[in-house]
Symmetry: C2
Subunit: 442 residues, 2 copies
Amino acid sequence: MADGLRVALAGLGTVGAGVVRLLDANAELIARRAGQPIEVVAVSARDRARDRGVDLARVAWEDDATALAAREDVDVVVELVGGSDGPALVLTRAALAAGKGVVTANKAMIAHHGLELARQAEVAGVPLKFEAAVAGGVPVIKGLREGAAANRIGRVYGILNGTCNFILSKMEAPKEQGGGRDFAEVLGEAQALGYAEADPSFDIDGVDAAHKLAILASVAFGTRPAFGAVEAHGIRRVIAADIAEAAALGCRVRLVGVAEEADGRLFQRVHPHLVPLDHPLAHVTGSTNAVVAEGDFVGRLFFQGAGAGAGPTASAVVADLIDIARGEFGSAFAMPAVALAEARAADSGERRGRAFLRFAVEDKVGVLAEIAAAMRDAGVSIESLIQRGQAVDADAPETGGGGVLVTIVTHDGPERCVAAALERLRGSQSLVGQPLWMPILG
Amino acid sequence: MADGLRVALAGLGTVGAGVVRLLDANAELIARRAGQPIEVVAVSARDRARDRGVDLARVAWEDDATALAAREDVDVVVELVGGSDGPALVLTRAALAAGKGVVTANKAMIAHHGLELARQAEVAGVPLKFEAAVAGGVPVIKGLREGAAANRIGRVYGILNGTCNFILSKMEAPKEQGGGRDFAEVLGEAQALGYAEADPSFDIDGVDAAHKLAILASVAFGTRPAFGAVEAHGIRRVIAADIAEAAALGCRVRLVGVAEEADGRLFQRVHPHLVPLDHPLAHVTGSTNAVVAEGDFVGRLFFQGAGAGAGPTASAVVADLIDIARGEFGSAFAMPAVALAEARAADSGERRGRAFLRFAVEDKVGVLAEIAAAMRDAGVSIESLIQRGQAVDADAPETGGGGVLVTIVTHDGPERCVAAALERLRGSQSLVGQPLWMPILG
């Protein structure tokens, strides 16, 4: 057994404290599995005085996180500061430059700077690992980088944000279990329960899921992380009636990040989808995350587990440390950074599929004819159209306080036709507010 | 990029041919990911003349598989011969003795001889890998050995046999989709479709799942593989009425292998279970496999995918080869063989849980009283008891051609009480055939 892997920890929030607790609780087991003990020797955080419920008496303290990178007694720096730039990036660059491995849970930093950091790690010959950056405790980076490595991946997609899934699951619950409420109300509950941040926009606008998707796509397709090319749409505009109509269609609404490669072009989008009940993603409820990878030989692989929280995230961070202690690590993105291809973005208009459309309309003569004509003129084939008799909830801001809802399911067809139909209807006096379009996961 | 990993392949059945096809189809991609090409240089199989649809013109042929181990031009031997002993074991020992790594899909051999082979591999300093031995293409060995390595695993369990799951899924389908039939009839269909072997006993009696469970338990708990300590029960005795009663209880019947460690004792059992619909295993249908691991920090991890077939199994075999080519491998069972503990078998009678009991009984006075008294006298608390009015299908051999079915769900309690109740009823003139007991997955 070797002497031990010496770890410096930057950031002692929930996850950082969880890592300390995990390394302590399972120290003996981890040493046996890793072939050597893994020990925290130095930490840095903002407030030294704060009680985090972990014993740091024998651990060196640095007020400046970057100083961790310079310590002679450190082999690996665990970066849990967060933020795509700023101190996290400064520390990571400094650690790699000092020849130390880096383990991080920082999806924003990897999505934005992963290529540069992977290059730097390769030049230095040290590991850069980020299992905890995607889907929390679920070993999906490993699953793609190694488990599915023999496959050409056609598509990787999943539920990547626990906050949104918690909210959507709540909204779809039976009324007696608190369901049937609109987004804003359930968001408030999620915030009160700690499932959503005070400023929830990164989560509910799809940015957090987009960070994770960009990382997954890079590992799956051997392309450079291209966060800027991810279309990100969130769940703010999903109302209770959308979920009810989806249920009537045998579907649930889920925020799904989809990355797909075809003809050398990479499509990446985070968007609320209708997910049919016979798809495993429809059964992922609460703050759970799940990822599907479709390989040409393995078929559909499905990974599911806790996407956030101190314990699961610490589990992923320490799994990376164990890989490093075992000497079982290599290129961060499954192949050397120099071999990663520049991804050419796909034209989403060329994508085909079935879609769900919801309109809030004035209850007057000719409205349906106007919508139907726009669909026809844009070449959209309608599979079903439903107008319910009752006016929708006056509280839903989507409907301007009193329209009637019309929902359409289209046949399989190109997205650009649907976009053209919606463009034709823009500014129509018959519509109240913006229509909502959601792809149906196929 | 290194010179290439040179592979010898023993066994050219469905999976062996799949490995050749996969290494050919994705050669360039695999070389980029693995850091070097992976090339089949020699093969051995029974019938040289047979057309397997793959090009072996530039590959050396050995009539005797063991000769592959002696070849100077081979780095790794892939063993796809099968069987716990015999040629597969001879070849594996010879390859390790010759300082070559071994990749195998052979669950029986690893379950029976894994400890000895892991020791031999460690002494020789070469890899021994068997991802394909458990759950086909699903990277669950990797998920446990590496992804969940930071955790103390409390329980690992899953659907490990695709043949049984295919049959049970068929039996539970709606009548118009061929459901509602008894075991023997659906087995015949599964055989005709190639989902079950001509001699299906290894699959349907739970032996195949028991092999896989013994391997999973070893990796999860750091114990020596102990196949002899796995209780294996199959699905032969499950009748259509059991599945219907399970459905009425909000459950599906699944063959689940469960391994659990508590107080230093290891429990391992393969048995048909009632799985509540809110558990992800209930939604695993067809020949799919799925594994759940419960870790103290990560919580519940869920892995699902194709459990068999040429493509998925080849995917797992080649994933192991890529790990080897990358130099990312270590102890076969997550820690050195010498560190694996001797597992003390748990007393299954001490296990607690809810149970489902089905009796076929004579339709006469006093039968229910006799059963209820046996339960009471053995200390079994009854949650529900159902006797349907109609006589059961005269064709079901379970019921001797005409009994009435009584099903009981017990409250949570020790299994030994249920066993004692059944013992009291043994030989009763009121019962037709053997009662069926199934635990309810909790």
